[in-house]
Each structure stands twice: as C-alpha cells, then as structure tokens.
Point group: C2
Chain length 281, copies 2
C-alpha cells in the first residue's frame, strides 16, 4: 500500500462507460450508459442517444431547467434510483464561479457526472517540533461513507454560499469551532480527482484550508454527523493514509497535500513527483 | 497581465516542431527538427529521421553514451551551436531518481529537450501578520537571464548531488546562508512546465523549499552570480509577478506556488483552480 494507491483509488474510472452530459451545447458532466437509457424515457426533458445526453434546449432558463430536473429526480428517487437524498442544492456550471446553468440535488450529481466542490479543513496543533492533526470519525448512520475517517472539518459546497462562509458554518456545526477561530483558516490550494462509482462519476474538486488550533482546543460535534474526534501525531495520520483505506477516499488527497506542503513527505519519498501530480488531475 | 499569463509563458510550445529523442527505446526528450537534421551528420552516434532522433544502440553503457555525446557537443559548441557552456553535468533518465542512461552538459539539455531538475528556495521573514520575501537580482554577466529577478536561492540539479545538499551548497554560495540555517529549508512541493526556446525545449521540474529566515539575516552573494538582494513585502512580489515579466520565467511559478500555499492568493482570485493546475503541467 502506498500514497500512490490512495491517489489511484480516487482516479479509477473508464469514460467509455459514459456519455457526455450537455446543457445548451456546453459539456457539464458524464452519464453512465444505463442511466442515459433510463433518462431517454423522459423525452420532453432529455435528448438521450448513444452519443450524449442533452437537456432539452426548450428549457432556456436556470429556473426552467432546475424545476424540470427536480420533478424527474424526485420520481427517480421514489424508484430508489437516487440514493441518499440530501435536500441540498448544488450549482451546475462549466467552471467554478461561472454563472450556474441550473441547480441540482446533491445526491444526483454523480449520476450526471457533474463536478462538485467542497471545503476540507486540516485542523492541526503544533507540539514542539512536531504537528498533530485532528481526525474525525464519521457517524455510523451517515448516508455516505458511514464510520470512515474524515478530515477535521469538511463539507460540500452548496449553491449561494461562499467558500470561507462554508468553512465557518461547517466548523461550527461539525466541530464546535467558534467563528472567530474558524475565520483564521488559511486557503492553501485544492485537490482534484475523477472517481467512478457504481452508478456515476465524481470529477470533483476540494478546496484545502489549514487551521492551526490552540493546544487546549477540544472539538465537539453539533450536528450528529461525527462520532468522535482524535488528535493524532502527523506520523500516525501518514501511516493510516498510506497503509489503509480507513479515510473516506478524497480525505486521503487532502492529507497527502498537507504532508507535502509541510515537508513531512519530501523528495526522498519514491514517486514524490507522481504524488504531487496525482493531487491535481 | 495576470498570474495565468506567467503560467502560459512557461508553457508555450508546439511539439509539432520537435521529434522524440530516444535512448535504448526509451523516450527521454525532444529535438527541434533543424537540430535533428544537424545531428544526422553524426551517423555513427545518432539515427535521425523525420520521426525521431535515436542514440545509436551500439552505445550500450552510461560511459559510452556520455563520452560519444560529449565529443559531439564540444564540436557543436565550437560552431556556436551550444550557447552558454556551463561545465556542469546533468543526468538523462526516464524519471527523477531513475538510473541515468547517460550524463549531458547542462547547456545542451534544452537542445535535446531533456528534463532538467532544480531547487528553488523561498527565503522569507515574518513581519507581524505579514511576510516579506528575499528577492535576488541576477548578475548582468550571467550567461542565462542576466539582470532578471530570481528567487532567494535557486540552482540546477547536477548529477550525483542530493536535493537538500544542493540547497545547502547553493544557499551558501549564492546568499551566504550558514549550513545550519539552510538545513532548516522545508521541502514543500514542486512546479513543472514545458517551455519552447529558440533552439529547444525545457520540460522541467523545480523542487520548492521554504526557508524562514531570522529578521536580522542579511544575504551576501559569494559566487558573483547575484547583483543584489531585496527584502520585499509579499504584496510587492505578487504585483511584480502578476504585472511584469521581471522575474526569470520559472521563478514566477515558484512565487505563485508560495502565494497559494500561504493563502496570499486565495479562491477569490479569478482562475484560482486554473492557476493551481497550471503549476503542475
């Protein structure tokens, strides 16, 4: 097992199993062929062929598109085809910050291979010359990746909320971080990947933040999504990242990026340059 | 002018003007077509066609290849075809750390489109909540990029020297940094790019290091390669990087990487994700 294994797991996909998803001639995602065939039944909303799935051009506005899709998604969810409905709306756009062409229920994003964005916060404590990282254990009843290890604070990026505001909100809800402390989180880059799931694709981007916490700080979960927090020496986080798949898949990339930026993982590591390239796919 | 302009300058190239350069069936570089035609004259050493330049397979060992090439390069240098001869030998390999197939005079690397590696050190000083960066001005008589701005300490990576040892050596020679201080340089990643030159290609990788310096430290050049050092607020380095081409081309990438990792350039910057991707080509 190695860091490169973690990176490979986040990037395992075969686009031959997908067709492009387009809105107004713009490529915004990827649909798996069986789901494309299912969408073909909604002929007023989707033009689905062996080549592509296109949202009907008669749907001209953000609202028209979003409403038409929500109607279909709720029906598909009733059939069990949209697992883990979240009641969170995400933008669908050609790039981060571009005007969204529509909004979509979070649980449906992978079905349409639409890029999701999120924020991940490395909560760390200096300890002499060393560093300790706060690691979260996801609740056993969470709809996605229950019981897995997670970064200190992390959350998807819904429509209409700034990144830093999202960090402050998630830090408060997930770990009881006062806003004045969470505001000190420093943006330090982003990781990207493209992972195939059983019924879709996650070609996602996670923005990374570093938040140095005072030694006495104790996180406390407020939303029931975290079972426990652990303060681990960075060396232990490195070993668990490298040797196991205990962290939720994309948290490994955030961990590795932290190890690289802080010099814990240096050029003597075999594959160092491949590891760095692998964080930015 | 923008950060993305700096990144684009480092990546301007058209591989249609090149043919692959191979040693023992392994692709190790790119040769511009006119230079490939010149190499065809050395038929015992090079098999040069419209498709590729191959080192003769009769040259079987590291030493045989290196000696045959040096002989030809010295002759070409006599004709002015290898400008700025450095008398520094660099490894030619399929990847960083892989066993080198041969060694080659540094000045010839771009002619063969062989990847060069180097180390760049961000020398910075904390100043309250702000940061200042030491910036170097290259000597006017330096054979490459005379008079341009440079990172605090930077150097190419010759054969047979470790990265950290190179940092310590260059920091001492270029800026008078005592070894005990230079050893504190933290590896923080790498930037890569691919830039076409008038007669070749630079598909290079630079390893980045951060070195926090005490406020009272004054760099002093010892090898005549630096004309002056300036201690600039990071905001000024950002402006000069963004608005001018005053820095040697690849130093801009090291600067931008520093701005991103330390949160001076954050997700509110237009094109933030393209900037991050652009540092890792």
């Amino acid at each position: 097992m190695s860091y490169l294994d973690r990176i490979a797991e986040c990037n395992a996909h075969d686009l031959a199993r997908f067709v492009p998803f387009r809105i107004a001639d713009r490529h915004v995602g990827w649909v798996k062929r069986p789901f494309a065939a299912r969408l073909a039944a909604f002929a007023e909303t989707f033009y689905a062929s062996d080549e592509a799935v296109e949202l009907a051009p008669t749907l001209r506005s953000f609202d028209e598109r979003s409403q038409a899709l929500e109607h279909i998604l709720r029906r598909l969810a009733g059939e069990g085809a949209v697992p883990a409905w979240r009641d969170e709306l995400y933008p669908v756009a050609t790039a981060f910050g571009a005007p969204p062409l529509m909004q979509m229920e979070r649980a449906a994003l992978p079905l349409f291979g639409v890029r999701a964005y999120g924020v991940h916060v490395n909560g760390f404590v200096r300890d002499g010359d060393g560093v300790k990282l706060w690691v979260a254990r996801r609740a056993r009843d969470k709809p996605t990746y229950p019981g897995m290890l997670d970064n200190f604070v992390a959350g998807g990026q819904p429509i209409g909320l700034g990144l830093k505001d999202n960090v402050i909100k998630e830090a408060e809800e997930e770990a009881g971080v006062p806003a004045a402390l969470a505001r000190r989180a420093v943006p330090v880059g982003a990781v990207s990947y493209c992972m195939e799931t059983s019924d879709g694709l996650k070609p996602d981007v996670q923005f990374a933040f570093d938040l140095e916490l005072p030694p006495g700080f104790e996180p406390r979960n407020g939303d029931g999504e975290i079972e426990a927090f652990h303060l681990w020496p960075v060396e232990r986080v490195m070993e668990v990242t490298r040797e196991t798949a205990a962290f939720k898949f994309n948290c490994n990339l955030i961990n590795i990026d932290f190890f690289v930026r802080h010099g814990f993982l240096g050029p003597d590591e075999p594959g160092y340059l491949d590891i760095i390239a692998g964080l930015h796919r």
